[in-house]
Structures are given as structure tokens and as C-alpha cells.
């Protein structure tokens, strides 16, 4: 495959449009995140493919393995398009009936649909399920919709057009300006304004700057970054390309936990495909700009998620934090100017380039703009991945999206921010999701792990 130009990118997008809109055939989107793999989605996928072949409908039905769909508690999951029909907790035994009824006759299979725990009614359409209906996917805009191992799917959904704009139409200063207008604050925990961080590194002189991505996700109850990497790895790569142009860097590293083998594999595939298309490497899209990304696997030390420790670890040393200043924007990896951002932070960047900082800032609160991804787990009915506008009350996350507490138990608290965070009790459950508001009630936003505890869970342990 020859290196692409922006015209080629347009061509790929046009060609894949019917498939992206699910217009040219029926699509069976099977969830293939770590969660669903563990509950048996691979066996379901194989059974589905065999049954489709046996019925002779393979020419009009396509099976696609996507990344994490988000509703992890109900895996293995299958969504059929057109129609957005949501099937849950499938086994290989369900497949013959499902294929005959849904794919041959076009009739939904009632018993495999989602059952609302409150109304006890079955809901067919994914977007009518309260868990999905209250969400606003931005960082997760491609989750469950594309094959993460096929770059054409990503391009079909506007992939790499944000980078193209940054490379051809914007100066580094204009990029950091849009990032500042967006109000995006780091999603790794500290909430530092991303545009400001990039601007520091842009102004630091010298060559050999670095762009690093923090995928060492280690807070308990946090699986947002893993899911993004497994479902949409190119979004992170594209965000890094934009950052590289902004600060004039030619080399990036993604620091990933070694406990995330599927994320490492999909990132590797994504990097290879991007290089083949000339979206990474030398002279990206013919812009004259060079940028490479390598994966670096961590070795199991919680502290390496901290930025200076992470840089030492990439240098092959003991991952010990060092005092700041000097700040990494001046002296980071190998003492060169360096920026480090979280996975979710980078995943937001392509759309900000494409739609503008003001678009991103159009939702949220005064000091916290845009959306935030949470990993909802613990004593809550709908365990999974949730993306909501900043300012959403915690109550809505726990009850409307999370479906409340199982077994008619009472809500006790929700832990945010991992071990260094805190538990938010019943009386503060109307607190909006906002960096400052959460600190006021004794917790921190953290990276997005939200662990719900019922009345029986002891908080002291």
C-alpha cells in the first residue's frame, strides 16, 4: 500500500461510507473486549460465522469483532444493524435460533433481548436502553461500532481528518489555542489544562522533544483506558500526532501495563497499519512532518503511573518519582522537553481539531468542560463503561445509567479517584461531576473509576 495523501483519505472515507452507515448489508457487531472474551465472545463469534455460512447468507451478513461495547456485565454482546438490535449474554447454543429468526426472517428473539430491571419489559433497540440513552459518547464515539484492527473503519468515521487539519491548516500555536478554548483538562487524574501543558512544551526550545501517552492505568476499578485502547486505538495515535505537531516532536511512546495484552496487541496492529498508510513515520500525508510511535510495556509498579517515574522507567531505570521543577515540559524523558497525557485525553483530541475547541466546550460546567468516561463497578446493576457530560449528577450515573443497587439493598457510597480519592456518601449523591465540586465533598475526580458500595460493604477495609 502506497503512502496516502489527504485525497486518498477522502477516497477511503467515501468508499467505506455505506459500510459505516450499515447500508450495504446486515452487520453483526460482536463485542471483543477483554471482558467479553472472558465470558466467551470468541466461541459465540465462531458459532455465528458457521451458522451464517450454513444458511447460505454470508454474502449479505457480515460479522465484525468490535472492542468493548461498554455494557460489560451483559457480555457476550451482539448488536445487529440496521436496527441497532441489542442481544446479551449469548452462548453458542443461542446462535441457530438467533440466525434463523433475526438474520433470515428479520424477527427479533425476545428472550435474548435486554430486560429492564425496573419495568421488566424487554427492550430491543440499544439506544432505548437507559444505560446507553443517558450517555454522550465523545472519547468513546467509535466504541462498539468499528473493527479496531481495521484502519479503514476508523478513517470511515472521520479518522485522521483531525490530524490532517492540524498538519496542513494549523500552526502549532493555533493547535494549542484550540486546545485551550476546548477547556480539556487531563483525564489521568490531576486535571491540568491540556492546551496549557502543550504550550509550555511548544515554547521550550531545542530538538528531540517527546510525546508520551500514559496507559499505565492502575487505579482500582478503572478500566476506561483499557477499553479505549481495545476499541479505538487509532484515536489515541491520532491525538498523539496532533500533540507532536503542536510541540514539534518526532518521537512518541505509549507506556502500557503489561497486564493489558489485548490492548498491547491492538495498539501494535494499529501502529503498523498507520505506518503502512503513511499516517505515522516520515512525511505524514505528504506534509513534511515526521512522527513515530513505539509501545513500551511497563513492569508492574503502581508508582510508574506518576509522570516522572514513568519517564525513568522508559529510560530503563527504577521508576522513582523525582521532585519538580524541572517540569517535564522543559526536562522530561532523557532530559528533553516532554509532554505526557492520559489515553482518554488523547482520544478527545481528534474531534477537537475537527469540530473546534468551542464545540468541545459547549457542554460541561464552568471549570470542567466536555465529557468524562467512568468505569462503573461494584454493587451496581449495570456495570460497565459510561461517558457523560461534565456536570451530570452522580445520582444519574448510579441510578439512571447504573440501574441502581442490586438485591434491593441501599446505596452507601461511591468511591471516586482510587486509593488517594475518597468515598462520596448518600447525602452528597447529587454532586455534579466536576473537578472542583467533587473535591468539595471529600473525593477527587481521579481517572474515572467509580466503585459503588451498598450498605453491607465495609468501607474501613
Amino acid at each position: 500500500m502506497a503512502k496516502l495523501s489527504v485525497n486518498d483519505l477522502e477516497k477511503i472515507k467515501t468508499e467505506s461510507a455505506p459500510a459505516i452507515a450499515f447500508q450495504d448489508r446486515t452487520y453483526c457487531l460482536i463485542c471483543g473486549g477483554t471482558g467479553c472474551h472472558a465470558t466467551g465472545s470468541i466461541a459465540v463469534k465462531i458459532a455465528l460465522e458457521q451458522e451464517i455460512a450454513a444458511k447460505g447468507i454470508a454474502d449479505r451478513v457480515k460479522v465484525v469483532e468490535t472492542g468493548c461495547n461498554g455494557f460489560c456485565a451483559l457480555g457476550p454482546l451482539l448488536v445487529v444493524h440496521p436496527g441497532d438490535i441489542f442481544y446479551q449474554k449469548l452462548t453458542g447454543d443461542d446462535i441457530p435460533e438467533l440466525v434463523e429468526s433475526q438474520l433470515v426472517k428479520g424477527q427479533t428473539v425476545e428472550r435474548l433481548l435486554y430486560k429492564d430491571p425496573v419495568s421488566k419489559k424487554r427492550i430491543a433497540c440499544q439506544n432505548d436502553i437507559p444505560f446507553f440513552a443517558h450517555q454522550m459518547p465523545r472519547a468513546l464515539r467509535n466504541k462498539g461500532l468499528i473493527n479496531p484492527e481495521d484502519i479503514n473503519d476508523y478513517i470511515g468515521r472521520d479518522g485522521y481528518f483531525g490530524a490532517a487539519r492540524a498538519l496542513f491548516e494549523m500552526t502549532p500555536e493555533e493547535i494549542t489555542e484550540q486546545m485551550k478554548i476546548s477547556g480539556l483538562r487531563g483525564r489521568g487524574g490531576a486535571g491540568f489544562p491540556t492546551g496549557v501543558k502543550w504550550d509550555f512544551a511548544r515554547k521550550s526550545g531545542g530538538a528531540d522533544k517527546f510525546v508520551l501517552c500514559n496507559a499505565d492505568e492502575g487505579d482500582p476499578g478503572a478500566f476506561m483506558d483499557r477499553s479505549i485502547l481495545e476499541a479505538d486505538p487509532h484515536a489515541v495515535l491520532e491525538g498523539m500526532v496532533v500533540a507532536a505537531k503542536a510541540i514539534a516532536s518526532n518521537q512518541g511512546y505509549i507506556y502500557v501495563r503489561t497486564e493489558y495484552p489485548l490492548a498491547v496487541r491492538r495498539l501494535g496492529i494499529a501502529i503498523d497499519q498507520a505506518k503502512e498508510y503513511g499516517l505515522l513515520g516520515e512525511d505524514i500525508l505528504g506534509s513534511g512532518f515526521d512522527f513515530n510511535i513505539d509501545i513500551y510495556q511497563g513492569a508492574g509498579a503502581f508508582v510508574c503511573g506518576e509522570e516522572t517515574a514513568l519517564m525513568r522507567s522508559i529510560e530503563g531505570r527504577r521508576g522513582m518519582p523525582r521532585p519538580r521543577p524541572p517540569f517535564p515540559a522543559h526536562k522530561g524523558l532523557w532530559d528533553r522537553p516532554t509532554i505526557l497525557n492520559n489515553v482518554e485525553t488523547f482520544a478527545n483530541v481528534p474531534q477537537i481539531m475537527l469540530q473546534g475547541g468551542a464545540w468541545y466546550a459547549s457542554v460541561g460546567t464552568e471549570t470542567s468542560k466536555g465529557t468524562k468516561v467512568f468505569a462503573l463497578s461494584g454493587d451496581v446493576n449495570n456495570i460497565g463503561l459510561v461517558e457523560v457530560p461534565m456536570g451530570t449528577p452522580l445520582r444519574q450515573i448510579v441510578y439512571d445509567i447504573g440501574g441502581g443497587i442490586p438485591k434491593k439493598k441501599k446505596f452507601k457510597a461511591v468511591q471516586l479517584g482510587g486509593p488517594s480519592g475518597g468515598c462520596i456518601p448518600e447525602q452528597f449523591i447529587d454532586t455534579p461531576v466536576d473537578f472542583e465540586a467533587i473535591v468539595k465533598v471529600g473525593a477527587i475526580m481521579g481517572s474515572g473509576g467509580a466503585i459503588v458500595m451498598d450498605e453491607n460493604t465495609c468501607m474501613v477495609d
Binding site: 477483554t34 471482558g35 472474551h37 472472558a38 465470558t39 460489560c72 456485565a73 457480555g75 492505568e217 492502575g218 487505579d219 482500582p220 476499578g221 478503572a222 478500566f223 483506558d225 483499557r226 501495563r257 503489561t258 497486564e259 493489558y260 495484552p261 513500551y296 510495556q297 513492569a299 508492574g300 509498579a301 503502581f302 522507567s313 522508559i314 529510560e315 530503563g316 531505570r317 527504577r318 521508576g319 532523557w334 468505569a375 463497578s377 461494584g378 454493587d379 456495570i383 460497565g384 468511591q415 482510587g418 473509576g449 466503585i451 458500595m453 460493604t457 477495609d461
Partner: protein, 164 residues
């Protein structure tokens, strides 16, 4: 420089030495490669014997105290032999809420093995690890490369039975 002849070691076969040499050669001039080399060599042998660490330090031209320092810092690296199967139990909060403590003690009692330890017959090693990022399946146990979710203390021994 990679030594001409590798040392004798009961747990390292000639084929393993070939793989180890390949790992060292591929990373020799790459700055900061020592963690990658340790990880890949541990994948080959199963753990990092002292002789292997010395060998790596010669091969990468890094002082052995530096390599030891790095190897002892990171939880992933073990200088003691491991069992044939590695059981990793999540100790994250979500798994705690869902009852991982009972699962852990059932494994400990059944196989007479402590957290961080290895059974005498070297069948299992047991480790508690920070959140595995599969909280949707909590409580979670990973055996070798298989993730087992929603694991109860009653079911866990049945699952482990299959790992000889």
C-alpha cells in the same frame, strides 16, 4: 558483550539460551532497553535466576548492580522459580467489594500456598495484583493467559483443577 559460552543452569536449556541471545542482540544498543530485556527473558525462562541477570548485564554492558536494582524494583520480575501456572488474583476495590478475599483464602487453604508463594510441587504460584481492569467481571482471577470472571470461592477450585 554476550559471553562466548553461557553458564550451566538447571532451569535453562540450550534452546532458551538461543532465545535469550536473540533478545539481548535485538536490544543491545537501544537506550533504556533493560526492562524490555528482563521481561522477555523472564518470558523465556519463567523467572530470572542470578546467573541470567549477570549474563544480561554482560550482554548489555550495564553493571550488574544496576540490572539487579531494576529487576528488584518491578513487581513483574521474580528471581525465584515460579510454578508451572501463575494465578493472579485481583486485589482492586471492585473485586474486593465482590468478595475476592474469600476466593484468595480458598486457594491458599486448598493448595497450602501463601500470596507471593509457590506450591512445593511447583504447580501454582499465587499473586495478588492491582486492578486488572476487568472490573465488569469482578471478582477476577487470571490463570496464565486466561481471565476468569465472576469467580466464586466455591467454583475457584474446579477452575484450577484443569491446570495440571
Amino acid at each position: 558483550m554476550i559471553p562466548d559460552t553461557p553458564p550451566e543452569h538447571p532451569d535453562i536449556t540450550p534452546e532458551m539460551w538461543t532465545d535469550i541471545n536473540a533478545v539481548i542482540t535485538a536490544n543491545h544498543r537501544r537506550p533504556g532497553a533493560v526492562i524490555t530485556v528482563l521481561r522477555e527473558c523472564q518470558d523465556v525462562v519463567g523467572y530470572l535466576p542470578v546467573e541470567l541477570i549477570d549474563y544480561i548485564s554482560d550482554g548489555l554492558d550495564i553493571s550488574s548492580s544496576e540490572v539487579f536494582g531494576v529487576a528488584s524494583f518491578y513487581a513483574l520480575f521474580s528471581m525465584k522459580p515460579k510454578g508451572r501456572h501463575l494465578i493472579r488474583v485481583c486485589t482492586g476495590t471492585a473485586c474486593y467489594v465482590k468478595g475476592i478475599k474469600e476466593v484468595m483464602s480458598r486457594i491458599s487453604n486448598t493448595y497450602k500456598i501463601k500470596e507471593g508463594g509457590t506450591t512445593e510441587d511447583r504447580r501454582f504460584s499465587l499473586e495478588g495484583v492491582r486492578c486488572l481492569g476487568a472490573c465488569g467481571l469482578a471478582p477476577v482471577m487470571v490463570v496464565d493467559r486466561d481471565t476468569h470472571g465472576a469467580i466464586s470461592s466455591d467454583a475457584v477450585i474446579d477452575v484450577l483443577h484443569k491446570y495440571e
